[in-house]
């Protein structure tokens, strides 16, 4: 079907597309392709790549595990302070990541409000560990799952749950068998967004988990460290991030846009 698009729309769209694509193109052009192997090795690409995948996937899993129930409570519950809770849950999206990292530090760090107990009673320290990086990434990406899931829940006719009740289903069966399958596309979309956010997370990670190759130095941190001493390595690390993102987002395009 051939539709004519209005010229101003095309003009603005072209500017927008160029704006977003140009940095990526510039990276590709400036990369010293001849030194590929050495640069990657020097910049700790292997470790950073492995850590980034591990942290982003773990953070996404945690975001879904906790974010979906949270969205359920926000959408279907009725208790005082619900809108306050919603505002708090979405806060990580608005806060500068470094501020989030500081907050995590003061809450879960060794001397933190809750972290102190974790450390003294259970011997657990989150800072400077991979789990710390996962916690930081989860903090910034969970709101995306909550928002997508809550929107999905609101769009589902609540009468389906009434129908299930008349058929004898208890609330848990209704939730798992009736609502969750209907919600799956939105949860998936939220999870993809959360994963993308977790992959690119920098500020909260470096502030809370620190920067140590092999433990907490994900690709964004590795890029930042390499940019002065090893610009070629930094560019290649960046391109790895871009490549991973493009692969996943393109393969998920149907879920994100609803087909076509």
């Amino acid at each position: 079907m051939h539709r004519r698009l209005p010229l101003p729309v095309v003009c603005l769209a072209a500017i927008g597309a160029a704006f977003v694509a140009l940095p990526v193109v510039a990276l590709i052009v400036r990369a010293p392709w001849g030194d590929l192997g050495d640069a990657l090795r020097g910049a700790g690409a292997g470790n950073a790549f492995r850590l980034s995948l591990m942290v982003s996937v773990a953070a996404t899993a945690l975001s879904v595990a906790f974010g979906v129930p949270l969205a359920w409570v926000l959408a279907r519950g009725s208790f005082p302070g619900r809108s306050v809770l919603r505002a708090v849950v979405v806060l990580p999206l608005v806060l500068p990541p470094v501020v989030g990292g500081l907050g995590l530090l003061f809450a879960l760090g060794r001397s933190g409000v809750a972290g102190r107990w974790l450390h003294e009673a259970l011997g657990i320290q989150l800072t400077f560990t991979t789990w710390g990086a996962i916690v930081a990434a989860t903090f910034v990406s969970m709101p995306l799952v909550v928002i997508a899931t809550e929107a999905g829940l609101r769009s589902i006719d609540p009468r389906y749950e009434l129908a299930a009740a008349t058929l004898g289903a208890r609330p848990s069966r209704t939730m798992w068998r009736v609502v969750m399958p209907m919600l799956a596309p939105q949860v998936a979309a939220g999870a993809v967004l959360a994963w993308a956010r977790a992959l690119g997370e920098f500020g909260a990670t470096i502030t809370f988990a620190g920067n140590l190759a092999g433990h907490t130095q994900t690709l964004p941190l590795a890029v930042y460290q390499a940019r002065q001493t090893d610009p070629g390595g930094a560019i290649f690390l960046s391109l790895i991030l871009v490549a991973i993102s493009i692969i996943v987002l393109v393969s998920m395009r149907h879920r994100l846009t609803g087909g076509r």
Partner: protein, 264 residues
């Protein structure tokens, strides 16, 4: 209907291309006459002394001048100057990065203006009981350093090397921070057991937040800070005046008050 929108797009594009620099400087006392802007890129360790003492003093002495500071890790700043070239004055924490800027785009009036030594800091309660440099090699001590390439990170490793404990200490490193301020932050938050930073950081950070452990002179590093006017600065004489002020008795006194050693 369509044409005005395209014109609007074009105008907006051109307007946004002429951006103004804005990176947290002090508001100047503008009197009648044109406001002059001076941009100073300085190492993070100079934040306290430049922003709170030398900067305001200079502005008082030069009516109508507003200084905009850009503090950061010297390696990062050198990179920005080389690619962007928007600095008038560059004050680095190490000769290496001044060399880089001297290489491209070039500098004039390069002079060493201050020195700094390194010191060990721990949280006030010193949880790992670090009392000497050798303690940093003890297994289990959580040590934070600045990353390699950042001057204070390189200096710290030099010190550890001189003391012969570099490998053991490296094994204790739990995080490589991007500048000395982040290193100090980890200690004041009580997260790590120890770190190596500048003596100027100990005086800048309020005394109660960290405990300092001295490093013996024979293994310590004397960090020498050069300052210079960057080639291509729009008002070279004003930039030169700033450099002179830093080197003057008044400037040097401020530096000493903030824990720096004098040059030369």
């Amino acid at each position: 209907m369509r044409r005005p929108i395209i014109v609007l797009c074009g105008l907006m594009l051109m307007g946004s291309a002429c951006s103004s620099d804005d990176s947290g400087g002090s508001a100047g006392q503008g009197s009648a006459g044109a406001e002059t802007q001076l941009t100073v890129f300085a190492a993070a360790s100079l934040t306290g002394v430049f922003r709170d003492a030398i900067g305001p003093d200079f502005e008082t002495r030069h009516d109508g001048v507003t200084i905009t500071f850009n503090f950061g890790a010297s390696d990062s700043l050198a990179g920005q100057i080389r690619s962007e070239g928007t600095a008038d004055v560059f004050a680095s924490a190490s000769g290496t990065w001044m060399d880089a800027v001297q290489d491209d785009p070039g500098v004039t009036e390069r002079t060493d203006f201050a020195t700094n030594r390194l010191v060990i800091i721990t949280p006030p309660d010193n949880p790992a009981n670090v009392v000497s440099l050798d303690d940093l090699a003890r297994p289990g001590v959580q040590l934070v350093l600045a990353a390699e390439g950042v001057p204070v990170g390189d200096y710290a490793r030099e010190v550890l090397q001189s003391a012969g404990i570099l490998n053991d200490a490296e094994a204790n490193v739990v995080s490589n921070e991007e500048d000395n301020a982040s290193v100090v932050a980890k200690i004041t938050a009580g997260e790590a057991d120890a770190a190596i930073v500048y003596t100027s950081d100990v005086s800048a950070a309020a005394g109660n937040d960290v405990t300092a452990v001295e490093i013996a002179d024979d293994v310590n590093v004397l960090a020498t800070y050069p300052i210079a006017v960057v080639a291509g600065a729009p008002d070279a004489s004003l930039a030169g005046a700033f450099v002179s002020y830093v080197l003057s008795d008044a400037g040097q006194a401020s530096l000493e008050a903030y824990g720096f050693g004098t040059a030369g």
